[in-house]
């Protein structure tokens, strides 16, 4: 099985551990991963505010590159905002054929043509659909026994494009975490918003949104995420969220592929756990306790 990978800006920067652990885990599962050459920003939530056309042209540039690289390959997107932008662009040009022509007029300056044939899939989709829980369990060398994990999906992972899971009560992480041997902490904020850019533009509102999620998940030993923006917000603002919520909130936030890598017995140098603001030591201690018990 071979995939293209669009890492997106965050997974190339602040969330590099997400990209690295994703590639390691997919390769451990027998997949081949090729990063999209010459990719650029998808425009996030900013491009479409400046210009409707820019908001579809920036994603279309990358989709055109994906088509050039291999039309039969699915392109894995690890960032939920990028994923939404790619899907939104495909939908927009499908519904409005004149828009496809306009986008291609813009892409002429890049020497590219977008045919709207590229298939983009969120990493969550690929992990939940292309690999059975038995295949994942078969790769486990160090079960996450005794570790309570709260799955957190965020909004754009499942809304508005979710061909693989429920868009309001997602569960696709559960079977994977159970296959790893973890105890799943079930809660009702899995698809709540992490606050995205509000943490910079309206911090007090953002702290409260982060705090609600952390508080709901806090009985667990850690939270598993599949979006770099969610990770940044949940990991980086726990002190501020604690003040707003008037209670101590301190819980490690790990990317799902990092947890998979731990269970697969991959070396920690491949998982880059030391990069998180909230240290993952308590997770490692809990696993060590379970091993010696």
């Amino acid at each position: 099985m071979k995939y293209l990978l669009y890492p997106g800006c965050s997974a190339e920067g602040s969330a590099l551990e997400y990209k690295v652990s994703t590639v390691e885990v997919l390769e451990a599962l027998g997949a081949e991963v090729e990063e999209l050459d010459d990719w650029t920003c998808c425009g996030a939530s900013a491009a479409s505010v400046q210009s409707d056309l820019l908001g579809v042209t920036l994603p279309a540039r990358n989709l055109a590159l994906a088509e050039q690289a291999g039309s039969s390959l699915d392109m894995i997107v690890v960032c939920s905002a990028c994923y939404t932008n790619f899907r939104r662009t495909s939908k927009a040009v499908t519904e409005d054929s004149s828009l496809l022509g306009t986008v291609n007029k813009a892409l002429e300056v890049e020497g590219l043509t977008f045919r709207n044939s590229a298939r983009t899939r969120h990493l969550m989709d690929v992990l939940a659909v292309d690999f059975t829980p038995e295949e994942i369990a078969g790769r486990v060398r160090r079960p996450l026994s005794g570790l309570a994990v709260a799955p957190y999906y965020g909004c754009q992972t499942v809304r508005p494009f979710s061909p693989y899971d429920d868009d309001e009560k997602p569960t696709s992480m559960v079977a994977i975490l159970e296959a790893l041997g973890a105890d799943v902490h079930r809660h009702n904020r899995g698809a709540a918003c992490c606050g995205t850019s509000l943490l910079m533009t309206k911090p007090k509102v953002g702290y409260h949104m982060v705090g609600e999620i952390l508080a709901t998940c806090s009985p667990a030993d850690c939270i598993a995420v599949v979006c770099p923006m969610c990770h940044m917000n949940l990991d980086s603002y726990q002190a501020q969220a604690s003040r707003v919520m008037e209670r101590e909130l301190h819980i490690p936030i790990l990317f799902l592929p990092q947890l998979m890598g731990l269970a697969f017995g991959l070396p920690s140098s491949d998982l880059l756990l030391e990069r998180h603001v909230v240290p993952a030591e308590s997770v490692m201690m809990r696993l060590a306790e379970a091993e010696t018990a």
């Binding site: 965050s10 920067g13 920003c41 900013a46 505010v49 603002y237």
Partner: protein, 109 residues
Amino acid sequence: VRCPRGIPLTETITRLKERAVREHAAKWPKSTLFYEVFNGIVRRYGRMREMEFMARYLMRAAPLGAVNYAGLGLTLLARGKVHPELPKLRGKGRLDRLFDRVAELEGQR
């Protein structure tokens, strides 16, 4: 999270933001600054530079409030999550031609 009358909420918010930027950017510069700085960096480098973005945005939005982010910035630097990079102030931007072409086509629509 879903409108009972089927109004596409996210798209509606985006259209309202777009209109606000187009019609009132000069009147409320702080409200549109986030998008202006973000798109400027993407135009110049093709990809986001997180540290440069945070520095540029916070210094213009709230120079005094930027101090509140200093501790987090240092932690992110210490963890290797962000790296200081010198901004490129001269020369053409990576996506200048694409941004210009889109603006030209937008004018024709």
